[in-house]
């Protein structure tokens, strides 16, 4: 059995084929897989919050926020690649785990994470090849750096591959 490179919450990992990177139990968080299919290098970022700009006066963990984590991970990838425009993305997560009443403070964070991730990728001109986002259940996300396939596993649901 092969072992996986595990990404925790507010964390990212970067590696190359034949490694498989995994992040467990994404809820409202969003997991972003970035890949260069020619060099077979890539990274997986487990993003917790949409926007770091509300926390400017504090020392922040840049791996926690969509607007900072993606920039940093892309930077890492580009350092290892000569061709800038080859990076592609696959994303998952951003669920609404609890059914909430309209107007509740709790709702919408998953959706805001998804939108913020998409905006960050758009700004960096990175195309999103696949997404498995939203709805109301947790997801474990595997990212195979040999094939670039993102595999999504949830409880009591079929495994999906993208």
């Amino acid at each position: 059995m092969s072992s996986f490179i595990v990404v925790g919450i507010s964390d990212y990992k970067f590696s190359k084929a034949p490694e498989v990177i995994v992040t467990y139990a994404l809820g409202s968080c969003v997991g972003v897989c970035l890949y260069d299919k020619v060099l077979k290098i890539g990274g997986l970022s487990h993003i917790m919050l949409p926007d770091s700009t509300n926390f400017v006066n504090k020392e922040i963990n840049r791996m926690k926020f969509a607007d900072t984590a993606i920039i940093d991970l892309v930077e890492k990838l580009r350092k290892n690649s000569f061709v800038n425009n080859r990076i592609t993305a696959k994303i998952a997560g951003g669920a609404q785990m609890f059914e909430t009443q309209p107007g509740s403070k709790l709702g919408g964070i998953g959706e805001r994470n998804i939108q913020s991730v998409k905006k960050a990728l758009y700004n960096l001109k990175i195309p999103i090849l696949a997404e498995d986002t939203g709805l109301n259940y947790g997801r474990t996300q595997y990212f195979d750096l040999e094939t670039g396939i993102m595999k999504i596993q949830s409880l009591n649901r079929q495994i999906k591959e993208y």
Partner: protein, 205 residues
């Protein structure tokens, strides 16, 4: 002075532990009333711990878990999450609403009963804080989810993501006549709320 959970000193953590102990005592009483039987409680374990450690304690991120989330507001603001493993949840429900042959999934009726139990147990914590401090605290309606524990717990963590990555984790073991039950309560309070509670209880900050 502290600005997040990472900066709490030993006295402050002890005080939180004490609140956890008293809350668990009240919760046991509430549970005994619901189940209509004598409920023994072993001393709860109260820890200030990181997200990953808490998830590990709960069996790992992908463990199927029932989570009931209650927000509180007023003079104190935060959330309380009540976590129960699925088997324990089912066995309590069989006592409460009877075995209705819903093996795999929990029926609507059972889900709503779980919500109510989570609500009562969470409220008993909030009530102990209110009683100890004299603060007026309101509790909102409970939300329930059955899914991977890591995914469920990420919700309050995200909500309080600005506070550092520590949380207050209370493990309590109840045993009744017919079953043994382990539940976990996680308390997330805004940092200003922690300060108010501590000041009310006479701790110098």
């Amino acid at each position: 002075m502290f600005d997040n959970y990472d900066e709490l000193n030993d006295d402050q953590i002890d005080l939180l532990r004490e609140i956890g102990n008293i809350g668990a005592g009240n919760a046991a009483t509430a549970l005994a009333t619901i189940l209509d039987e004598r409920v023994e409680m072993s001393p709860p374990k109260v820890r200030i711990t990181g997200f990953d450690d808490a998830v590990h304690e709960l069996g790992g991120a992908e463990t199927m878990t029932v989570g009931v989330l209650v927000s509180f507001n007023g003079e104190a603001n935060g959330m309380i999450m009540f976590l129960l493993n699925l088997e324990d949840a089912k066995s309590i429900m069989n006592i409460l609403v009877g075995d209705d042959d819903s093996d795999g999934e929990l029926s609507e009726m059972k889900l709503s009963a779980i919500k109510e139990i989570g609500n009562i147990l969470s409220s008993s914590y909030i009530n102990s804080i209110a009683a100890l401090t004299g603060l007026t605290i309101n509790v909102t309606v409970p939300y329930v989810a059955i899914d991977m524990v890591g995914a469920i717990m990420s919700v309050p963590i995200i909500e309080f993501g600005a506070l550092g990555d520590k949380l207050m984790f209370i493990e309590e073991n109840f045993s009744g006549k017919s079953n043994h039950l382990k539940s976990n309560i996680i308390l997330f309070a805004e940092i200003d709320t922690l300060k108010i509670i501590m000041q009310k209880l006479g701790l110098d900050l």
